[in-house]
């Protein structure tokens, strides 16, 4: 038994040396070669994906935030069908569009074109 106090601030060389000998693993060259092969080989697909994980997550968060903002704005502006009706009535001042939408018969292409182009 040696005389070192267990609370010594200094390294216990004797304990350190026997522990080192007990923990040393042979064939260090083989291990180094094995790691160096991995270090120099190209990245695997999951390592590449791993590298993209953080920017990907940031992009996804940005998209979610943008979608939330857009949705919030849409809800605040009210029912979108009202806007469509307004648009239709504005573009069909002569009543063609109203007749077109209320008719049971299929529309005539020329009439449809004329109404969407402001009947110019």
């Amino acid at each position: 038994m040696n005389e070192h106090s267990a609370f010594d601030h200094e390294r216990d060389d004797r304990l350190g040396d026997v522990l080192r000998a007990a923990l040393n693993v042979p064939s260090e060259d083989l291990f180094i070669r094995r790691v160096l092969v991995r270090v120099t080989e190209p990245l695997t697909w999951w390592e590449v994906l791993g590298g993209w994980a953080r920017p990907g997550l940031a992009a996804a968060l940005l998209l979610v935030a943008a979608a939330g903002f857009w949705l919030g704005r849409t809800v605040r502006t009210g029912d979108p069908t009202v806007a469509l009706e307004e648009m239709l009535s504005a573009s069909a001042g002569n009543g063609t569009m109203t007749a077109l939408l209320s008719s049971a018969r299929p529309p005539n292409v020329d009439v449809l074109f004329a109404s969407t182009n402001g009947n110019e």
């Binding site: 267990a6 923990l23 042979p26 094995r34 790691v35 270090v39 120099t40 791993g50 590298g51």
Partner: protein, 187 residues
């Protein structure tokens, strides 16, 4: 495959900077320098030499992937060994390690007789078994402090505990190891 001689006299921090710029040879030199230390620390945590080598390799590769997080102003060794220790602890937690107390071959500088080799193997096996009975953090702490020569402060940083806890871990580990080894005539 080994790095060239031109890197052998360069400081760790310089090698790490080169490695950060993509110089794989520089990182290879760091692997050569720290392989022994990384394997010992991993083995102290994992016991099985094969698992320890896998964990040490995982640690090196993780360090390579995260080199951008290394601050070259700080010493490279503790940064790397912390990653290796974490890799070993993760591996240990992920699966229950089989207690394969395989006796590692000893490579002494002089050629001892068979009885002496047997004694030394048994001594080392007993030491590893005593180490294995310690809590994981105490094991790592005593090896980092007494084997690898890191300070209490560095050990604390590597194990992510307060310095007082690191001191206490070293204290308890030493006490337990000395008690077990007191019976051995080599001690």
């Amino acid at each position: 495959m080994r790095p060239t001689v031109r890197t052998s006299g360069v400081q760790d921090a310089e090698l790490a900077k080169r490695a950060q710029r993509g110089d794989r040879d520089a990182f290879g030199e760091l692997v050569v320098r720290y392989a022994g230390q990384a394997r010992r620390v991993a083995r102290a945590i994992l016991a099985s030499p094969d698992d320890a080598d896998d964990a040490a390799q995982d640690g090196f590769l993780a360090a390579l992937r995260h080199l951008d997080r290394y601050d070259p102003v700080r010493p490279f060794g503790p940064w790397l060994i912390r990653i290796v220790a974490n890799a070993a602890m993760d591996r240990r937690r992920r699966r229950r390690v089989r207690q394969t107390e395989a006796l590692s071959p000893v490579t002494p500088s002089v050629d001892p007789g068979p009885a002496q080799v047997t004694d030394r193997r048994a001594f080392h096996a007993a030491l590893r078994a005593a180490l294995e009975r310690l809590p994981e953090r105490q094991r790592a702490a005593v090896v980092l402090f007494d084997v690898e020569g890191y300070s209490h402060r560095e050990v604390a940083r590597m194990l992510d505990v307060p310095e007082g806890t690191a001191r206490s871990d070293v204290f308890h580990a030493r006490r337990a190891l000395r008690k077990v080894l007191a019976a051995w005539r080599e001690w």
